[in-house]
């Protein structure tokens, strides 16, 4: 193939800088060698529907922003973290390394804000009914991402190896152990022994810094690819408008630029939270000591924690089975609610979802207060 024969498409010519400028020559040289204009045109043509609920479309981008912060601060923490001396090395980051406490606190707060954003993102797409056909793939990859991110939180929790991380992970893995048939096997594999120990750190470290990042990146890629191919979902009220009443904004150069101030605000919030409420480091884990008083899971696990308390003794398995059902229902949602625009069934499902949200919030608050 002779690259010199590839001419620049007319609509590219209309957008590119003039051919006699330096950048103009550079872009033309690139397009001659790599004729990707259709791809660029595809992205430039990406549109976001504009309506009164448009602001919710920003949540995915905000979650992605927090994920980028996690990658950067995570790499920085890896520079000094030593899985062989977990508590000592984290203590050194906090006490000795300049800005170490800030970077660690940012990693903590960004993780929490990312999970919060993902919850909001999930419920906003749920109530806009963006999960319906043909977008089942986006919904399911999104759900997998939420699960992976929670696993991220759980595995990262152990790494400082303080009292809190030790008992939190011991509780988490012993809940896992109670699952019939595979529970014990999986728990042993996760712990690398009969109890949480330094052996567990190596496993959780590999999970936290290699396996989960690769999985999350792959699923973010799929999630975004699906959205690029299918376009942003339109709520029923918007889709019902006559074509000339529908307003759209370009994603690149318009919607995304509008998101930059939001990202900057989130960054400011992150710094403020990290400075005002830095993440503490409790005493080094002591497998022989009593669990610290008032120990409670992170806020996003409070609801299942409180719910499990309602099923004492042998009934706990019933509670766990019911809680295992919830994620299955969430995955199945696009197959239970297909009708576009929504009919009676769709409205019922929205009501059930509102009930679920209220229940989740109620359980969380109850867990917080109890």
């Amino acid at each position: 193939m002779d690259y010199k024969q590839n001419h620049i498409p007319a609509d590219a010519e209309a957008v590119l800088p003039d051919a006699d400028t330096r950048m103009g020559r550079f872009y033309r040289a690139l397009l001659k060698r790599y004729p990707i204009w259709p791809v660029i045109q595809f992205f430039l043509g990406k549109k976001v529907p504009e309506h009164k609920h448009s602001a919710w479309y920003m949540l995915g981008g905000i979650a992605l922003f927090f994920f980028v912060i996690q990658i950067i601060t995570g790499i920085l923490l890896m520079v000094y973290y030593k899985p062989g001396q977990p508590w000592q090395s984290v203590n050194r980051i906090v006490m000795e390394i300049p800005f170490g406490a800030l970077i660690r606190s940012m990693h903590h707060w960004s993780a929490n804000l990312m999970i919060l954003t993902l919850f909001l993102h999930m419920f906003s797409t749920l109530f806009m009914k963006a999960y319906r056909a043909p977008r089942e793939g986006t919904w399911i990859t999104g759900f997998i991402l939420l699960a992976l991110v929670m696993l991220f939180g759980f595995s990262g929790y152990l790494l400082p190896w303080d009292d809190l991380s030790f008992f939190a992970v011991r509780i988490g893995v012993s809940e896992m152990e109670k699952v019939p048939v595979l529970g014990e096997f999986a728990a042993g594999l996760a712990r690398g022994g009969p109890d949480v120990s330094m052996e567990t750190i190596g496993r959780f470290y590999a999970l936290h810094v290699v396996i989960l990042p690769l999985l999350v990146l792959a699923f973010i890629g799929l999630h975004l690819l699906f959205i690029q191919i299918q376009g942003v979902s339109e709520p029923d009220s918007f889709a019902a408008l006559p074509e000339d009443k529908k307003k759209y904004r370009n994603f690149f150069g318009d919607f995304m630029i509008g998101e930059v101030p939001v990202w900057l605000f989130m960054f400011g919030l992150l710094i403020a939270l990290s400075a005002a409420m830095p993440r503490g480091l409790a005493a080094e884990a002591n497998p022989m000591g009593a669990a610290p008083e008032g120990i409670k899971p992170e806020w996003y696990l409070l609801a299942p924690y409180q719910a499990l308390k309602l099923f004492p003794g042998k009934l706990e398995l019933v509670g766990m089975a019911m809680m295992g059902l919830a994620p299955l229902l969430v995955i199945a949602l696009p197959f239970l609610d297909k009708e576009v625009p929504s009919g009676k069934r769709g409205i019922t499902i929205t009501r059930i979802a509102i009930g679920g949200l209220i229940g989740f919030l109620g359980m969380t608050i109850w867990g917080l207060l109890s």
């Binding site: 800005f99 370009n250 150069g253």
Partner: protein, 167 residues
């Protein structure tokens, strides 16, 4: 449907004024961006900057020698590779019966050199030093760093050479 921005080609009617404003706003946004990036990069740089290393000779001005005992260098012609403060060291007793010590980091590329009886040899690129630490063959550009060595309570210690004793 709103018109896509990139499709708007060609300046509007009041172009010169707008062009000036556009340039100013772009420059201002760029300037703020650079300032922001600098502010974000500073803590990252401070975080990554090497931590100060404690003085290898400590407050007392001496460091205990590791893996070499006075018996190892009891007679003229004896010598051995060892270490001090996590660094490589060679201690030897020369023909005149004098104790000598050199930091074993080669002055060429930083490998640790080896005491080989009548010569100090670098296994990485074949550099050689004589028993006074002088570079005599191969790539090393200058002599090995010499250290003061002495026996105290049956153990060897090194301390930095005082400037007047050098050369």
């Amino acid at each position: 449907m709103t018109e896509s921005r990139i499709e708007k080609k060609g300046p509007p009617s009041d172009a010169p004024k707008n062009d000036k404003r556009r340039k100013f706003l772009l420059a201002a946004a760029g300037g703020i961006g650079v300032a922001w990036a600098g502010a974000a990069a500073y803590p990252v740089y401070k975080y990554l900057a090497p931590q100060p290393v404690p003085d290898p000779f400590g407050e007392e001005g001496k460091a205990v020698v590791d893996k070499i005992t006075p018996a190892d260098v009891a007679n003229p012609g004896m010598g051995k590779n060892g270490g001090y403060a996590s660094r490589g060291l060679i201690v030897l007793r020369n023909g005149e019966g004098e104790l000598k010590a050199f930091d074993s980091k080669c002055t060429h590329a930083g490998c640790n050199v080896q005491f080989q009886g009548n010569v100090i040899h670098c296994n990485c690129h074949g550099g050689e030093y004589d028993l006074t630490g002088k570079n005599i063959s191969g790539p090393p550009p200058k002599p090995l760093t010499e250290l003061k060595v002495f026996v105290e309570n049956g153990a060897l210690y090194v301390s930095p050479m005082e400037p007047q004793q050098k050369g």
